[in-house]
Symmetry: C2
């Protein structure tokens, strides 16, 4: 038990609160390839309800992970994009992807 380890613990715990929320890792992963619209995220996060998606996006916006861009057109268009802070989460997502590939065979049917 030392100060260095305690600081690590704190950093890990704080990061876990962000990335651990349901759907969050998936959303960041989807946004890693560029801006996405609400309906696009709704489709790629298959199973998420619009209520939950809206709430997650608001939380990520408040945490400075994503930016919301609203274009007052008709039909309305809103895009979500990773910030610099959000992009620095990508190494975590990538490590998760590698772990999943190695240890969690995907049984998804196409």
């Amino acid at each position: 038990m030392n100060a260095v380890h305690e600081a690590s613990t704190c950093a890990v715990a704080a990061t876990a609160e962000i990335i651990g929320a349901k759907w969050t890792a998936l959303l960041v992963h989807d946004l890693s390839e560029g801006p996405r619209r609400f309906s696009e995220l709704e489709h790629s996060c298959s199973g998420i309800s619009p209520r939950t998606l809206a709430e997650r996006l608001r939380a990520l916006e408040q945490e400075g992970i994503v930016e919301r861009h609203s274009y007052p057109e008709s039909p309305p268009r809103v895009e979500y994009e990773l910030t610099g802070k959000g992009e620095s989460l990508l190494p975590i997502i990538d490590a998760m992807r590698l772990f999943g590939h190695s240890w969690l065979p995907c049984h998804h049917q196409h």
Copy 2:
């Protein structure tokens, strides 16, 4: 949208289910330095209840992330240790630690 990206999505989602559970990242981080006893983990995960700690450890054991070693002594001693699968989660934990250090100033008081 392509098959490669869908496979990534699946891997990330499955890993998120493991690492996203509360306390899990912290537990794996604590166990990264070697085997730990129940009471040691209880102390380092400050605030966790024995009920929750026991539940998390059981889940991690079933997922093959940790191994439980029971020594029938008096007083009883039980140690938890990362498996190979558990150790392969460490790159994720390390990426989380780096993110936390860069973006999440720790206000913890000593």
